[in-house]
């Protein structure tokens, strides 16, 4: 289990700042959550202004 950032990320960086595991990094034109570090705490979900972060089993547009 992990969370993922779905299509449409504008790389605002708010999720990266909030992640206690430092699991979010810069991908190619999007931020990316490292599934090996993500603990599903959902801190990133709370701050994403476009509500693009979901548990991976709900992702419509996985990375």
């Amino acid at each position: 289990m992990a969370h993922v950032i779905t299509k449409g990320c504008i790389e605002c960086g708010r999720c990266k700042r909030e992640c206690p595991e430092k699991a979010i990094y810069q991908g190619v034109n999007t931020s990316v959550i490292d599934p090996n570090k993500c603990t599903d705490c959902a801190a990133c979900v709370e701050v994403c202004p476009l509500e693009l972060i979901v548990p991976d089993f709900l992702a419509v547009y996985p990375q």
Binding site: G8, I10, E11, C12, G13, R14, K16, R17, Q26, N29, P49, L50
Partner: protein, 416 residues
């Protein structure tokens, strides 16, 4: 840093000319491209500055406001010409009603080679590779000086507390100052000629406004970071040499400048130097060096204002080798003021992320601040000539950026 939050040097007042700044935090000029077609403030402009006036900063520098609509960098740029006088008077009056202790100054600019050919005329003092433009002649510069002087008088008439003559970031003021401007004319070649525009214009404005309470100063790029740019050792040199940068500040001081607003870089060329971003934040420390050099060389009463503080935020940044609690904006503001590196600090991108950041800091509530992530989404909106705001925290701007990226794709290059 001091143990007691309230003893932070950021919260101490300071004199700027005959005015007293209530603390050491200012709002940097941020071009937000939301004027009406005449260059007057719109509802969005009012909304932004209303929030800033309530936000606790001691001084607000009205985003670079153009002295001419014939040459400008932004399609919807605020302007300061006779046609704007009435609207600007109302604007200043409304902002002053919110908090008349705020020192409200106008940053006056001419875009020169950064004027956008799509809607204005690009002009230059010497064609720069990748930019070009129609070559300005001496009579053109004299007309532009008239426009600046008139703009300063309008600023005074409408109730602004002062002006910031923009001599930075690659706009016309800095184009003239550069060693690269080695063209043999009245305004090029020797330092005496290259500094003539800045110095004579400053003298003219002081003389014609003729008000000792009118704050005068200038934002300057200590080093533009490319060969021949301001702060380099010669017209083709990549070597940093601050001799002329310091001479400029001292010359302005001799002519009545109350403050020098330090910056660096030219965002159309060296963006990350002007505005260190999340990926490469390290040049923020270079700004400390630049402001320290101004502070060391200027009179104690000339206020030195430092830039590039947004990157520090609450210490959750990408700067390495320093503890989070010793890498915050309040840590560096306090330390740099106490150690004589700078007198005040400027918030640029941070002022878009949270216009109330100064007030929240004064209240001892840094945890409530929406800290700038240095993502530069605001800059992308500016590059795309859209209304500019924080596209991380402010939803209309978040949605605008998401839509434009979906419709038009990614930017080819991040340069203003």
């Amino acid at each position: 840093m001091t143990e007691n939050w309230n003893d932070n040097a950021l919260f101490r007042p300071i004199k700027i000319g005959t005015h007293t700044a209530k603390n050491r935090m200012i709002i940097n000029a941020m071009e937000c491209c939301d004027s009406d077609p005449e260059g007057n403030p719109t509802d969005r402009t009012y909304e932004r500055y209303t929030k800033l006036a309530r936000g606790g900063a001691a001084l607000i520098n009205l985003e670079a406001i153009t002295v001419t609509y014939e040459h400008r960098g932004r399609d919807a740029q605020l302007s300061i010409m006779p046609r704007n006088e009435k609207a600007l008077a109302k604007f200043v009056s409304e902002i002053k009603k919110i908090d008349d202790s705020v020192i409200f100054i106008f940053q006056l600019t001419h875009s020169g080679e950064l004027s956008r050919p799509e809607f204005s005329r690009r002009v230059c003092v010497k064609p720069l590779y990748g930019f070009g433009g129609d070559l300005l002649e001496e009579e053109d510069i004299e007309r532009i000086m008239d426009e600046f002087t008139l703009a300063a008088k309008i600023a005074h008439n409408v109730g602004a507390d002062g002006i910031d003559m923009k001599l930075c970031h690659g706009y016309l003021g800095s184009q003239l100052l550069r060693p690269y401007n080695d063209r043999q004319w009245k305004y090029g070649g020797s330092w005496e000629n290259r500094s003539r525009f800045a110095f004579e214009l400053f003298e003219r404005i002081v003389r014609e406004v003729n008000d000792p309470n009118f704050v005068m100063g200038s934002k300057v790029s200590a080093w533009e970071g490319f060969p021949g740019g301001c702060g380099s050792a010669g017209p083709t040199s990549s070597i940093m040499d601050l001799t002329e940068s310091i001479a400029l500040a001292k010359g302005l001081e001799e002519r009545g400048a109350h403050y020098i607003l330090q910056s660096a870089g030219s965002p159309s060329i060296t963006l990350a130097l002007s505005q260190p971003d999340e990926k490469i934040p390290d040049d923020a420390y270079l700004h400390h060096y630049f402001s320290s050099q101004y502070r060391r060389n200027l009179r104690p009463e000339t206020v030195v204002i430092g830039s590039a503080y947004s990157i520090f935020g609450d210490g959750r940044n990408n700067l390495q080798a320093v503890k989070q609690e010793e890498n915050t904006v309040w840590y560096w503001g306090d330390k740099n003021i106490r150690e004589g590196v700078v007198d005040m600090i400027a918030f640029g991108r941070q002022s878009l992320a949270d216009p109330a950041a100064p007030r929240k800091l004064i209240e001892g509530k840094p945890e409530t601040v929406d800290w700038c992530t240095a993502c530069d989404n605001c800059i992308e909106l500016r590059i795309r000539q859209q209304n500019v705001g924080c596209a991380s925290y402010n939803m209309p701007y978040v949605k605008a950026l998401a839509k434009i990226r979906a419709d038009e794709g990614l930017l080819a290059a991040k340069r203003t």
